[in-house]
């Protein structure tokens, strides 16, 4: 098996889990450890991508450009990346992040909508950035559809395309089929981003590597949206045991996960009923806190809302549908009594 490139996204996917409250000091401290440990790519931005500070996605307490600047200033060897979702971010924010000094942009869309990314891949290339395409909610489409969408991104200038299991809904065989399809369709790198709703984040990531994935994602202590991600420190430990030499220092990561990141958690990230129902229904992980808020306000169950969102095929960025679903469920309840 080849040596994969690891991207740590504690400071991007993990942003959801801390309700968008990262401070520049926290970013400096975590980037310092990841950089010293030898993690090659560190992603920093609002959890929903550049310019994600909104009512819909959750407001940030600090300017993400200040956070990105702190990361760029701190990293000695690691490349700093940001996430970009067309429609949430615009060219303006992409230019600004590039100006501050990110080296890599990950352009994310729902996995059937690759054709909206063209203008942004072209701009990113003009700005001299490395580019990754992020096919979100990959569990919703069969391998051949994902491969076609990935090829579009390749034609726009992507250097790598990720199969992104945003809902933590894929099982190993589904990961294998999808990564294999992308590997055979593309001449560029293929990546895999896991969520842990079914307890498979590490297992699915290893499956992706077996299927030929070149790049993988993790977050310290699994800090990420919903059920969280593949913990970076565990990934490195597992790869060590498999004799795949990443050159990343496990001890530094274990300390950072334990002493810094665990302390940021508002509550432990475990696969509780909310997260399991979310993964089982195939619902975008960043919806979790919004669903809990709506469930409380309208006095309906989190699992009920998750199930209905799954049925409606809600995609990333549709937090407003959570309210719509909650209102409708509450109305139905009222009719019964």
């Amino acid at each position: 098996m080849k040596i994969p490139r690891l991207t740590d996204t504690t400071l991007r996917d993990g942003d959801h889990a801390v309700s968008h409250s990262y401070t520049p000091e926290q970013v400096r401290s975590i980037v310092k450890d990841l950089d010293e440990a030898g993690v090659p790519v560190i992603e920093v931005s609002h959890g929903s991508g550049l310019n994600g500070s909104t009512i819909q996605q959750g407001f940030s307490t600090h300017s993400e450009f200040d956070l990105i600047k702190a990361a760029v200033e701190t990293a000695k060897q690691a490349k700093i990346a940001s996430l970009f979702v067309p429609g949430i971010g615009t060219s303006e924010e992409l230019r600004e992040a590039a100006e501050i000094g990110i080296s890599l942009i990950r352009i994310a869309v729902h996995c059937t909508e690759a054709d909206v990314t063209e203008q942004y891949f072209r701009l990113a290339k003009e700005l001299g950035l490395e580019t990754v395409g992020f096919l979100m909610m990959s569990h919703t489409q069969p391998a051949n559809v994902l491969a076609e969408q990935a090829k579009l991104m390749e034609s726009y200038g992507a250097d790598c395309v990720y199969v992104v299991d945003s809902a933590g809904a894929l099982v190993p065989n589904g990961v294998r089929e999808r990564v294999t399809a992308l590997k055979s369709a593309l001449s560029i790198n293929v990546g895999f981003h896991a969520h842990n709703n079914l307890g498979l984040a590490i297992g699915n990531t290893i499956t992706a590597l077996e299927a030929g994935a070149d790049q993988i994602d993790g977050t310290l202590r699994g800090l990420g949206a919903g059920a969280g991600n593949a913990p970076t420190e565990i990934l490195v430990a597992v790869l060590n045991k498999m004799n795949i030499e990443t050159g990343i220092n496990l001890a530094i990561l274990m300390d950072a996960a334990e002493e810094k990141v665990a302390r940021l958690m508002q509550s432990p990230i475990v696969i509780d009923r909310d997260n399991l129902s979310s993964g089982y229904a195939g619902v975008y992980n960043s919806f979790l806190f919004h669903v809990r808020h709506a469930a409380e306000k309208f006095d309906v169950g989190v699992s009920e809302i998750m199930e209905e969102l799954g049925k409606r095929h809600a995609v990333a960025g549709q937090e407003d549908w959570i309210l719509d679903v909650a209102v409708e469920l509450a109305q139905k309840k009222r009719l019964k009594v």
Partner: protein, 285 residues
């Protein structure tokens, strides 16, 4: 086209022009007995009787067309995001620009959401408004897909100018679910001062009813409500309004409310201008 033919209003459709002689649109117009031309804007400029032109080309093409139409004294109803003329939304400000020679229809999201923001801000100042427009992937053409920035910018500007919000964001979402979903819009309006909730809700409901008089498939989903949110300006009441637009199914499928709202608004604008022209100067019909 279908809306002009279906309604007995103040306009008579005399020409449908395109640039592709084999286009489906021109064939459909011919079928209905309408004169067609594939010479684009030139065919329109040659006919001095035409007073109102609906331009559904592209922002780039409209910039050129706008000049030519203005020279000939023809009103351009701009359905592209070019935004050369003032934004118009039938229920909010149509009568403010009756003398304009070029008016812009913003975007589907703009037509659907700016009246709702306006309905809040006429009762209490809106500090910040965020509008989320969700449409079926199948209803989003290549023009929009290649320029999402333009939709975002134009719609957010209109939410401020027409909606009256001090600050605004607009976010489009494309959903590929099968069967295709109807167009939906959600509005969050952050309010910084004490206000009469019932008055805001009543205002929103009344403007929605007005819009549904020219777009029958336009309706609120549930009753608008107030939710407290953490914002950069504090823990503040946020008016949440949810809306759905079902198309009339004249030409586009019913789920494509985002396309229907543009043609319905364009028809309404054209009809009101036509009435104005007919009343104020002599026009060959």
């Amino acid at each position: 086209m279908y809306k002009i033919l279906k309604n007995d209003g103040n306009m008579e459709l005399v020409l449908v022009a395109g640039i592709d002689p084999n286009s489906e649109g021109l064939a459909r117009a011919k079928d209905k007995g309408i004169t067609t031309s594939h010479h684009g804007i030139d065919a329109i400029l040659e006919d001095p009787d035409i007073k109102i032109v609906f331009d559904a080309t592209s922002a780039k093409a409209h910039k050129l067309n706008a000049q030519a139409l203005r020279k000939q004294g023809k009103l351009a109803v701009d359905m592209t995001p070019a935004a050369i003329g003032p934004f118009v939304v039938p229920t909010v400000n149509l009568h403010d620009h009756l003398e304009a020679m070029n008016v812009n229809l913003i975007s589907c999201g703009g037509q659907a959401t700016t009246p709702l923001v306006h309905a809040v801000s006429r009762v209490v100042p809106v500090h910040y408004a965020e509008v989320i427009t969700t449409a079926a992937s199948l209803s989003i053409g290549p023009g929009t897909r290649q320029n999402v920035d333009e939709f975002v910018r134009t719609t957010a500007n209109a939410v401020q100018q027409i909606g009256g919000a001090t600050m605004a964001r607009a976010i489009p979402v494309f959903n590929p679910a099968e069967p295709p979903i109807n167009m939906t819009n959600s509005i969050y309006a952050v309010i910084k001062e004490e206000f009469d909730e019932a008055a805001v809700i009543e205002s929103v409901q009344s403007i929605a009813a007005e819009i549904s008089s020219y777009i029958p498939g336009y309706h609120l989903k549930g009753t608008p409500f107030v939710d407290y949110r953490e914002t950069p300006w504090g823990h503040l009441p946020t008016v949440v309004i949810m809306n759905e637009v079902v198309g009339a199914g004249d030409f586009f499928p019913a789920y494509a409310g985002n396309l229907d709202i543009m043609t319905a608004s364009a028809y309404r604008v054209g009809d009101v201008y036509a009435a104005h022209f007919l009343g104020s100067k002599e026009v060959t019909r």
